[in-house]
Point group: D2
């Protein structure tokens, strides 16, 4: 292992707003520091197919505000096999790429970890997922934007909920993590959140509905995290409809619009800082770490720690939601 001269960047897994801001930051920080940069298309697949392009500063002009990822993303089965990773490594050698920055969620970072170990390549991970479920960083790239997208949708639904005096169950993303649902509920002034981390919430919902939520409210909104554990919004709506036929119950599943949109200020700044820090880390000789921001400071988190550890829900937030939804 010698000095790094050329950095490859890829985005992998589910896309998240701010990935383009991160691509821009990695590219420009690399060039600023005299490194060459290559963009790898369609995640790890591009390492196998060789769909790779050199990036200059202009290639990332005017992308900071765009949702999605200009590098595309894909889930790549070949990369899960030793044979696939062998081809990927050969591509890197052929292209002269001697370090990798991977932007993605825990599946993507797991791939990076295995690849880095097998071939002794410096791999730096950036936490890019709307689910906020990576340990070692206060927030992940895309989370704040998704939260605001949820908020705008719930604000719109509340207009119609209030006009019609209805009970809405709104399902949001999160992949077994309740960050979006719980924080979305507090931010939108929802009456309750059903999240995988708190099974007690379901009993509360029961209680809340039994006690006659209409007493002082003329509409109610419950945010439900998509999850096999919760069962999703449809499940709860059916239960309430059966047991309390007097309620006018509706369901909205927000779906993929939560992944898109122009990134928020928070996500653009986060992505810019993480992207710049990833090059600092490479130049410092760091390898196989995820970059995070904790308490406004850049931190390096070993891959295993970032992926394996569960990021806990702040219980204070559960109490705040309960207190304010009276």
């Amino acid at each position: 292992m010698g000095t790094v001269k050329c950095v490859g960047i890829l985005t992998s897994g589910g896309d998240a707003p701010g990935m383009n801001a991160a691509i821009r930051a990695v590219t420009r920080a690399a060039i600023y520091n005299g490194l060459q940069v290559k963009g790898i298309y369609r995640g790890y697949k591009g390492l196998i197919t060789g769909e790779i392009q050199e990036f200059k500063s202009q290639n990332v002009s005017n992308i900071i505000q765009l949702g999605g990822t200009i590098l595309k993303t894909a889930r790549c089965k070949e990369f899960l096999t030793p044979e696939g990773r062998k081809v990927a490594h050969e591509t890197m050698v052929k292209e002269g790429i001697d370090a990798l920055v991977v932007i993605g969620g825990d599946g993507s970072l797991t791939g990076a970890r295995i690849f880095a170990q097998e071939y002794d390549i410096p791999c730096i991970g950036l936490p890019g997922t709307i689910d906020n479920d990576l340990f070692g960083t206060d927030t992940t790239i895309g989370y704040d934007t998704a939260l605001n997208t949820i908020l705008e949708a719930v604000d719109k639904i509340r207009d119609t909920a209030t006009s019609h005096e209805r009970l809405f169950f709104i399902e949001v993303m999160g992949r077994d993590a309740g960050f979006l649902a719980l924080n979305g509920a507090i931010a939108s002034g929802a009456e309750a959140a059903i999240i995988p981390e708190c099974s007690t919430e379901v009993d509360q919902l029961e209680e809340f509905i039994k006690s006659g939520y209409r007493k002082s409210k003329n509409s109610s909104i419950v945010i439900v995290a998509e999850s096999e554990i919760t069962g999703g919004a449809m499940h709860y709506a059916e239960r309430v409809k059966n047991e309390y036929p007097q309620y006018d119950v509706r369901v909205t599943i927000l779906g993929h619009l939560q992944r898109g949109g122009s990134p928020s200020a928070h996500d653009r700044i986060l992505a810019s800082r993480l992207g710049a820090a990833s090059i600092d880390a490479i130049l410092e000789g760091q390898r196989n770490v995820m970059i995070g921001i904790e308490n406004d400071q850049v931190v390096y988190v070993p891959f295993t720690k970032a992926i394996k550890n569960d990021k806990p829900i702040n219980k204070e937030l559960v109490n705040v939601l309960r207190t304010l939804s009276i």
Copy 2:
């Protein structure tokens, strides 16, 4: 029938952005012209329960920008019966309301038409529905806002569709009218629209998919109007998944968020003009007409004409979509 001294306003049926702007305009135009105004809550139900409040100019301050309707809305079964309408009429007499402005869709205007005939009351209708399916007005209150809401959602979904190279079926509202779907498709640069007015579109979709839409595109979006005729987005997605398993197909049903949100400039201006014109119409002795705007001019449309006539889809738009989605 003497001179009108007090006007009652109500919103009925599905809520639509701009209803509050219309309430404000009716209220202020009435007061400007020396009339008293009473707000009737929960649509025709308020006429039966007597939930009615006098409105001064300040009651409608700072509402022009709000989605939903401060008067609430409801569908009222009692008003469909002669007995219900008798009670409603008694309430009007008791409250001294001698003219009615009804803001709503075709169900609401049908109610107004019957009521007006039975009791010889001047009723003025304002077209308030996101579906744009009322004859005699270029657009209805709420349609332009809903179209922009759809657009923002599709723009977000396109970010993720493009990043993942997927085929999305997105279902929008419209209640058997294809205005939102067709115009939403043109405005969002979608590849196709499936609308109840054009059964041929389905064959085209078939053709479009068979011909291998991936040739030059790296993502595709098809907008589907909710409708028993089309069968909805889920129906098409299933068909494509079965017949073309190689495509990565996803479905999003936009749902109730299409009804909410701060009204667009177009809807606020439309609602303001229609609201002001409704009072002019009452003062002129007009009765039992819907107010519309055609070719930038206020027009009076007899209820029967507004409700019974089908509003046609402009075929030019179907061609524009086909031409531009190559």
Copy 3:
């Protein structure tokens, strides 16, 4: 003059949201009809410098939602001279461009008119300006988006105006046309608009302020059209401050943010229809006309008529604003 085989497109003058949607529509409609398309950069300047590129369908993918113009725009002094236009014509001949679609305001269409006459080239104009000051089309590309941008800004300012009980003068664009100011005032629920077309408005403002606007209102917003005739927002604010020192007066000049942003549904559909129609017009042998939409129908407007005729303000709107601001 033979059959057209290759169409050049350019955007000229001030940029307007929706210009990219128009570029996309012209390009795709031309290709759909078997024509070649060339994009000319920086307006008429590109015809002089030869900065020209062939456009395929993919060159205009994913631009419908972008503000600004991918072709750039510039004001070009050389094109105002016969020598400049001679060079421009030579470029066209060299590039094989035998028809021109010009997207811009009245200055740009005036240039097209002169050039078309001098060299007998089919020139089609598309009305692209946020000012809405072209005769022969109900709205121009960019106007609806700018109106909504103004609205969002005024809604924000009203939050703070109401919290502090202030009188705000807000200056909007319009270049001697009052469409944005008058419609922006109605849509935002402003108390008054000062527009170049109505000098009487100023006296009303006087009256409105004298009569003590605070009586029933706890904030006031006056929209002022930028214009040498009105003198602008600063002028009125100074006058009011001097004569009524008891008022807490503030000024905001919205400025260039009115020109940007993702185009609204209306502007994208308008631009798509006009763009497609421009190719129809070329194929029909039309020349030296602006394409407009009037009463939902495509119309051809001779350049001289579009530029020379004043587009009148609808007096009904002036009355609506006055009635509703009580």
Copy 4:
């Protein structure tokens, strides 16, 4: 000093998005804990004039999403005098208010500190200002929303800047603090920021312009913090225009729209947590502290520390901006 039974709330100084979410949270948390709540209008002025109203849970329904403050705000000169504060205290006694929650910036918290000392009243401050210039909390209520508002405006201006290849100086608020300008510059991909904390930035601007910013860029945006130290955007624009007449320079002063708008998710959650924590603090017997959130934990900050200490700019951010604007 006995047990607190009734809490008064007021908003003071410049308004900030999220103040309503804070009012809602204080009110509901107080009621949840068995306390009475009174809303005081127009900041400290309401304590002098007695404009005070009891708040129930419903009084704060559906306000979490609104900009501005339903309690209004004002700067109150009488409260700066001992006589004024004496009247304020008498009002509190008369109304039975025995604790105060003050939402505002450093002027407002200074008032609270003096008042609390003079009359031995438990006063809790919540940091409400878009400027983010209070020590002891990671962010202040309103800051994140203002940052996103700036971003949206700059994104729009960049559309037109890029289309015309111009150099824009955009002035943002901050009252001698550079948080909005620096973070706004990073988030919007601006080329430079001029902030009061870094006089060296000006030399860099000089250098940046001298070196010919056009080399690789086709537009440039410089964000300038309003401040007597920087001199504002107009000052720099004039300097550049004089020294480099070849540049097409424009200025936009964003102004009061930065204070309004529906609060972002971050600000709504922050305001909800701080509001709930203010009641916890009162119940715990805390007095004369500002509540902040640091590193995702609620903290109590003595008033003097919050107001007197300068909140430092993170130098890492200055470097990130420099690195990424190449």
